[in-house]
Symmetry: C2
Subunit: 305 residues, 2 copies
């Protein structure tokens, strides 16, 4: 794979930015990589492990001369960062982000940018429950989807280069409208996360079942929810605040459906339950056939020793 950008600046040095640094290096996609994080502790950690070529003490310094600038901060911080770096961006550079919500990021970021900057919002559908500068790894994006939501008048060459970068890191790229992105993500990511947080919260609060019982007996289903509910709280707070309408919309559908199943349990309608539980198997098969999950039992989960 050959170099796509001479200089890439990563603003934010968490799981996604760190994984991008590892992946760009492994595949030789960037000449130089600079980085900045608001926390001095994160910057020190990134320097310590040589995560990027240069860790800068200001975002302005990091973006100087960069051909690609990546905003990899929580969605709620994107606007402030864009305002901070806007005067220092190289004319003709591309600015992208990795936020889980797209309409709110566009509204927060676009007004600050000079016309000479190509803003192409993006979102890699990849992650783990871990966060911070030590959590990244080069293969995070392999065979994962990277959604980009360029405006209709976006510069075609800039889009092509950004796509090539994502593909160079192993991802598949799809383009879609920002509003549709936010709805899709409310279904496949945001609502599932909220539900997982809720279920773990319920178990935490219940007095009739002790926390030690919840922990000991968690392998019967519950522990899967706790992985998702261990994700970064700041990131997820911002997701729900900024993708509010779509999340409330899907939550409404979820509650409706849950009440229907709850009623089937109360009325002892075994046929309805059986039919429902049979249909959901097809989606699992589709996901495995599409290469988006493993068919190994229990995810081929690592053995705890």
């Amino acid at each position: 794979m050959s170099r796509i950008y001479n200089k890439v600046a990563l603003i934010g040095l968490g799981l996604i930015a760190g994984s991008m640094a590892h992946a760009m290096r492994r595949h030789g996609l960037a000449g130089t990589i600079t980085g900045y994080a608001r926390s001095a502790e994160t910057r020190a950690a990134a320097r310590d492990i040589g995560l990027v070529d240069q860790v800068c003490d200001s975002s302005a310094e990091a973006v100087i001369d960069a051909d690609l600038v990546v905003l990899a901060v929580p969605v709620g911080a994107m606007g402030a960062v864009a305002r901070e770096i806007a005067p220092h961006l190289k004319p003709g550079c591309t600015l992208t982000d990795v936020g889980s919500v797209k309409q709110a990021v566009i509204e927060a970021v676009a007004p600050h940018l000079p016309n000479s900057v190509h803003f192409i919002p993006g979102h890699p559908l990849a992650g783990t429950e871990h966060s911070g500068p030590y959590s990244g790894f080069a293969t995070l994006f392999e065979n994962r989807w990277w959604l980009i939501t360029p405006q209709p008048d976006a510069d075609a060459e800039a889009v092509t280069k950004l796509r090539a970068l994502c593909e160079g890191m192993g991802a598949n790229v799809d383009e879609m409208d920002a509003a549709h992105h936010d709805l899709v993500l409310a279904v496949v990511s945001h609502t599932p996360h909220l539900i997982a947080y809720t279920m773990v919260g319920v178990a935490d609060h219940l007095r009739r079942v002790s926390q030690s019982e919840v922990i000991k007996y968690s392998a019967s289903g519950f522990r899967d929810f706790t992985r998702i509910a261990a994700s970064d709280p700041t990131m997820w707070r911002d997701v729900f605040l900024t993708n509010k309408e779509a999340t409330l919309d899907i939550l409404g559908r979820f509650t409706e459906e849950l009440f229907m199943l709850q009623r089937a349990i109360r009325m002892e309608d075994g046929e309805q339950l059986f039919d429902y539980f049979t249909r959901t198997r097809a989606i699992r098969r589709g996901i495995i056939e599409a290469g988006q999950d493993t068919d190994a039992p229990d995810f081929g989960r690592s053995k705890v020793t």
Copy 2:
């Protein structure tokens, strides 16, 4: 490990019974193992792979002379099977089951049994999303909990032997009251499964997001729910029908909590969301420290190739 029972009969030859057969053989815990399944196809498969020493064509034949009989059928079928085998049970033998609900199984099974049989209900908290005679493996129970719910007047020696068998297969054993078992399981297993089925159902029904989008973009959280929602429909129908009260109780708590978080999103109460998402991390840490899940990112999930 030395032999604990001379002859063990497995009624039902799915994931749990199959895994018991593999584990008992590996550790030399049983002299002879017989098996029976209602479906001729399952019996043929079990014979084909030599899952047990003898696959019988009736449950009566399978239990003759058995020192331990294991009911490994869906909870809703336990009563009928108990009635069928009761006249053929050896006096002094132990009968156990592996059902996910305990009060309903006791009510369904106990009335059929002669006084000479030691009935010790049990439930291994172990499984995968796969089912059937091919899905078992010898290590399924290692470091998992096996709950038994003996009556207060249960024969101490029979309980000790059953515990030894479970421990011999690698499990940890806890004893508890059947009603408490059903409440605990409603929290750590039954409600999480119902919620997962519901979320997958919502995604399946939604017309504004296509099924192919749901499948392609599932790695952003949704796919975790689909694994649980791919579990055996008959088994889960029976669980909800027979642990109805506890499940409805916990579902009520879940909905209450979900509405609280939904309101926090609607009112844009970021602090409440952040605090909630921070507390749930502690439970995940507890589960990892208790050796009940891996700390590897994404469960150390098998790579899809």
